[in-house]
């Protein structure tokens, strides 16, 4: 076995070393920064690097020396997707519109991870306003997949996943509207969880589609994922869709045992458009779980075939409304000219500030919500959403978890799908159902083909992250654990 460098270890192992005072936080963070200097030119995971990370590390070291109380993420280096506000730091959404926007406050998740003594290393690249599945739609240029620099890292949280995979950060936060955490986690062979809708506060997350999105962890393994979720989950009065729920330590659900658990395999998520090698690898993973004592059955959730168009209609409609706030007046790009009246000034600012994909989605959302088309598109899509939720509710009466591929295909070449308007959307076919239904879903590494990662998706009923962690942890302990790095 190849011995890993310190920064290549999962966070919980680094934590042990910090707590045993085997290593100093400062030295570890310095090594992370060294790694960034070495590989960032090739990977381009970050949009902004934080310059006081070492100073914060030294302060945590002092706290340790003085035996003061230290948070659960004691000194771990964390990367934050650039649509989550960190006070005093640029938050750009990888858009020209917010190129110079400095967040005036911390998002709730940022407050929480700071309270737990995590150290923010930088803000990561993403598809502009989280609209994309490849991180190619960034105003600052694409992120490259650390496993193969010709390939996309997935998106839209591509920078966060690439940073964790290349050990430019130990932990990361992403956001998931239709798969934006799970997709890059799958393509970069890391762990990514979209929590139940309402479990993690969205206060301070720049909105794309409010009724679908959640902030969640991107990590090197399942234990780190549970650790980071425990730090960010919980009720927040600043987010009116946040659920009142007691604190949970998710690491207690890391149980290496799936005996008696029932797995459903939805055939629609293995259908047309899913590559054979992906099907085979995920199926083998299900069979391995069966060997470990779980049982499985194929099921049909017939409305899932409509999830993708319904998702895009809802997401674009919400986007057209959310992005109406960008007028270049209070913040953002401003195409100023004395001769413009307000209407021209707004239009020019928006036209020059937004990229092609963002404009396209605003136009489609505006169309779907406009008089004469509202019933045909938006309302109908929301009704289909009800049918998809019912499909899942029925399934979870019989099964503990559902397993499917995360991505229907292997990571593809940069530029390969960007021109075709539908091909890129089709990549989200297996991830969007969880967002429409609000249920939690994780992507964990389950294999490689020709040096490219394959991810497996595990879904459970709302607030049953415990079952997801149990299955994912058992799989990681017994079947597949990535012991090598890019």
């Amino acid at each position: 076995m190849i011995s890993l460098e310190l920064i290549e270890l999962p966070g919980w192992k680094i934590l042990e070393k910090i707590k045993n005072q085997e290593i100093k936080v400062e030295d570890y963070i310095a090594k992370l920064i060294e790694r960034i200097k070495k590989v960032e030119e090739k990977v381009h995971a970050y949009v902004t690097l934080i310059d006081n990370a070492l100073e914060i590390a030294r302060n945590i070291d002092k706290k340790i020396e003085r035996n003061e109380k230290i948070g659960k993420l004691c000194g771990l280096g964390l990367a934050v997707k650039d649509n989550i506000c960190v006070k005093g730091i640029k938050t750009t959404c990888s858009s020209r519109m917010l190129e110079n926007f400095i967040a005036p406050y911390d998002a709730t998740v940022i407050k929480r991870i700071k309270d737990e003594d995590a150290i923010i290393i930088g803000k990561t690249n993403m598809d502009e306003f989280a609209m994309g599945s490849s991180t190619e739609f960034s105003y600052f240029g694409p992120t490259y997949n650390p496993w193969n620099l010709e390939m996309v890292p997935g998106g839209s949280s591509g920078g966060s996943a690439a940073a964790v995979a290349s050990s430019e950060a130990t932990l990361a936060l992403g956001s998931d509207t239709g798969g934006s955490i799970r997709c890059p986690a799958s393509f970069c062979s890391v762990v990514g969880l979209k929590p139940t809708y309402g479990l993690v506060s969205r206060f301070g997350l720049i909105a794309y589609a409010n009724s679908l999105e959640q902030i969640g962890p991107i990590t090197k393994d399942v234990r780190d994922c549970a650790l980071l979720l425990s730090s960010i989950a919980g009720y927040d009065p600043m987010d009116s869709t946040s659920i009142k729920k007691d604190y949970e330590d998710y690491t207690k659900y890391l149980i290496d045992d799936v005996k008696g658990l029932k797995i459903g395999v939805p055939i629609e998520l293995f259908g047309e458009g899913v590559q054979e090698i992906v099907k085979k690898t995920v199926w083998n993973s299900v069979l391995e779980l069966e060997k470990l004592g779980a049982s499985y059955e194929e099921i049909s959730l017939k409305y899932l075939q409509y999830a993708l168009p319904a998702y895009y209609i809802v997401a674009m409609s919400e986007a057209s409304s959310n992005l109406a706030r960008f007028d270049g007046v209070r913040y953002g790009y401003n195409a100023f000219n004395e001769s413009y009246d307000w209407s021209i000034a707004f239009s020019k600012s928006r036209t020059q500030g937004f990229g092609f994909e963002v404009k396209k989605r605003i136009l489609l959302g505006t169309y779907a919500l406009s008089a004469g088309y509202f019933n045909q598109y938006y309302l109908k899509a929301q009704k289909i959403r009800t049918l998809i939720r019912k499909d899942f509710q029925e399934a979870f009466k019989r099964f503990d978890v559902l397993i499917a591929p995360t991505m229907p295909i292997l990571p593809f070449k940069i530029g390969e799908k960007i021109k075709d308007p539908l091909q890129l959307y089709m990549c989200d076919m297996d991830t969007v159902p969880a967002n429409l239904a609000g249920i939690p879903a994780i992507s964990i590494p389950c294999g490689f083909h020709n040096g490219l990662p394959i991810g497996m998706q595990i879904m459970s009923n709302s607030f049953r992250e415990d079952l997801i962690f149990r299955v994912a942890f058992t799989f990681e302990q017994n079947v597949f654990i990535r012991s090598f790095n890019p």
């Binding site: 409305y303 009246d341 239009s347 036209t351 009704k383 009800t386």
Partner: protein, 104 residues
């Protein structure tokens, strides 16, 4: 043509006038050279969206939100805030005021 039938609804294309109308509603400008590519993309995506027509949704209520919370209130209390910080992000300011284009 599949099965000798032409689905008129699926062939319906968005017109330049319609594109310009929605762009004006969304406060976006579409330049002459962009018209064609926007029309092409919008047409393809909208015709894909119409796949949902296959589903009978009569009597099905819509799901606008997955959690059943209605009207969440909190106390109307003043919390510390920093107006100066907020104003810093405005591209055009005059003193402590934000400057905007004239309302013609």
């Amino acid at each position: 043509m599949i099965n000798g039938l032409i689905d008129l609804e699926k062939l319906k294309k968005i017109s330049i006038e319609e594109l310009k109308h929605i762009a004006s509603l969304a406060k976006l400008e579409i330049s002459k050279d962009e018209e064609e590519i926007f029309l092409e993309h919008l047409d393809q995506i909208l015709s894909y969206f119409r796949k949902i027509d296959e589903v009978n949704t009569e009597g099905i209520p819509p799901t606008y939100h997955v959690i059943d919370i209605v009207n969440v209130f909190r106390k109307d209390e003043v919390n510390p805030s920093s107006p100066d910080e907020l104003i810093k992000n405005a591209p055009q300011t005059k003193g402590r005021y934000i400057k905007t284009a004239r309302i013609a």
